[in-house]
């Protein structure tokens, strides 16, 4: 492997991902009706939860100065980011079982990075339900928000939203990796970590200006969801005064977060001592 050029390595990895994606899709499509039902019910379920937010708008008129049209952009970015991370990252979800049964030994024997192997364990295509729902909200927001139509022209706006979306999914993916890595020490799965994933999603879909300073700082410095989604979108809709380049650069923090979580994973692998026999 060492003699291969970096380019070939990346190409091989990419080919492996596509191959596994096809395998998972074929497996999940074995019963097509069942698969479509799962996607549809996931979609409907998320729509129901959105009704609660719409009801809040109906009652309170606006949330911290945001209209629904503005918030739909933020909502769409958050949910699409979460759905993407869930679609590709759920292989890390039950990772504690692999550690507990000692199966991780086998992962270490194979000539492929253990990170990639765990990542490729499971792709949950039913998460498309949330992805589609988020995308619809995003399209609604981008086409109706008055504030968002003044600052940037069409293509830069699309680029900013895309960057925010990618950054957000990187953070959620990173959180899944963090949660899985903890299993090297605890063996058990840590339900409490769900506070960071589901809690982050729930908190991040509302304007950060609703929250006390401590929580805002938490979402900038520790779990930087604010950097990838809230701040860029607030810049776009004129709710936070930020210079445009900063707005474009902030979502890259998500990539940094994913990088840190990958380093933490390496630390965990080095710490791993088998539990099996």
């Amino acid at each position: 492997m060492d003699r291969l050029s970096l380019f070939t390595k990346i190409k091989n990895t990419f080919r492996l991902i596509v191959h596994f994606a096809k395998l998972h899709l074929r497996a999940q499509m074995a019963y097509p009706m069942s698969f479509y039902m799962l996607v549809a019910s996931h979609f409907l379920g998320i729509c129901l939860e959105m009704l609660a937010i719409l009801a809040l708008f109906n009652q309170f008129g606006q949330l911290a100065g945001w209209s629904w049209d503005d918030l739909a952009i933020l909502y769409g970015v958050m949910h699409m980011g979460f759905a993407t991370a869930e679609l590709f990252g759920r292989g890390f979800d039950t990772f504690n079982l692999i550690v507990r049964t000692g199966d991780f030994d086998r992962f270490l024997l194979r000539p492929c990075s253990p990170f990639l192997q765990v990542a490729l364990r499971e792709f949950q295509f039913m998460r498309l339900g949330r992805l589609i729902q988020g995308a619809l909200a995003l399209i609604w927001g981008l086409s109706t928000s008055v504030a968002a139509s003044t600052l940037l022209s069409f293509w830069p706006k699309m680029a900013l939203v895309f960057l925010a979306y990618m950054g957000t999914s990187c953070i959620f993916y990173g959180l899944f990796v963090f949660q899985a890595t903890l299993a090297f020490w605890t063996i058990e799965s840590l339900e409490l970590m769900n506070i960071t994933t589901y809690g982050g999603l729930e908190a991040g879909q509302f304007p950060m200006s609703l929250y006390p300073h401590a929580l805002r700082a938490f979402f900038i410095c520790i779990i930087p969801l604010s950097c990838t989604a809230y701040l860029p979108i607030a810049m776009l809709t004129g709710h936070e005064m930020l210079s445009t380049p900063v707005g474009f650069l902030l979502p890259l923090v998500g990539v940094l977060f994913l990088g840190i979580s990958a380093c933490f994973w390496q630390l965990g692998v080095r710490h791993y001592s088998s539990t099996g026999n």
């Binding site: 019910s41 379920g45 009652q59 606006q62 339900e191």
Partner: protein, 270 residues
């Protein structure tokens, strides 16, 4: 009165309860998670009330809203959000055939399982909250003893109603594909329609008649309203009758659906 017919179900209830009581660590983790959600929602609603931009008058005072939020977190275990994994497994693998051989009623058996599945988590998860209440960490005002009595009685009826919903959804798994869909949709429906996601009174007025008549309301929303005095104690009996009628209706639908499905049941595998 001869109660011997109930003996196998009571035994089942006891066994399932003691099994479920083992998950105390999970319940504690659940308590911490709920504490987080509770504080988060209180914070969210407090800042929404502070912004003073509402076009209409609020249906609840902030204090009542906070009470609703904490009661919802405390009683989260009652919510019919999932089905028994073992029942799901039995239907998928065809093991349900063995269950049918037993000289007991399958509906009652599953109902008992569902009841245990709601009762124990509710107890385990509400106890830490009751301790918090006792020491004054959280504060939920209750206007009178009669309100508290009716709250308690309607919680009990809510448990039965929730078990009826759970059993009905378990039975829907006999229709493999649509059952899966219903099962997936259940947590979202239960969360929204029972008033966990946001208190039901925050929905628009034109939507209230629908919300008032659907069964999920009896699980969480009605007991909370009785506790906080949003519904006066005089209406306590009406609430309990509402819950009882829905429970009975859902049980009858369940029994009928199960009977009609089992008549044409095909067991795959040997």
């Amino acid at each position: 009165m001869n109660l011997s017919f109930a003996r196998p179900y009571l035994a089942m209830l006891r066994v399932r309860c003691s099994t479920l009581l083992q998950y105390r660590a999970a319940a504690f983790a659940g308590f911490l998670t709920q504490l987080f959600w509770g504080f988060f929602k209180v914070m969210l609603f407090t800042s929404l009330y502070m912004q003073n931009t509402s076009p209409t008058e609020h249906p609840l005072t902030l204090e009542q809203t906070i009470g609703m939020i904490w009661l919802a977190q405390m009683l989260l275990g009652i919510l019919p959000w999932n089905v028994d994994r073992e029942i799901e497994h039995q239907i998928r693998t065809g093991q349900v055939a063995y269950e049918l051989l037993r000289p007991i009623n399958l509906y009652s058996l599953w109902f008992t399982r569902s009841l245990a599945m709601r009762l124990i988590p509710t107890l385990l998860r509400s106890i830490p909250f009751i301790i918090c209440l006792f020491f004054g960490f959280i504060y939920i005002p209750c206007p009178s003893w009669s309100a508290f009595f009716f709250f308690f009685a309607s919680c009990f009826m809510g448990l039965i109603l929730s078990a009826a919903i759970t059993t009905l959804v378990s039975i829907s798994l006999f229709w493999t594909v649509s059952g899966q869909g219903i099962q997936r949709l259940l947590p979202h429906m239960a969360g929204l329609l029972s008033g966990l996601t946001i208190p039901l009174l925050f929905f628009p007025t034109w939507f209230q008649p629908f919300l008032n008549w659907q069964p999920f309301r009896g699980v969480l929303d009605l007991p909370s309203r009785l506790y906080l005095g949003i519904l006066p104690s005089e209406e306590g009996m009406a609430v309990i009758i509402f819950q009882a009628v829905w429970s009975l209706l859902l049980i009858l639908i369940g029994v009928y659906a199960m009977r009609s499905r089992l008549r044409s049941c095909v067991i795959d595998g040997g």
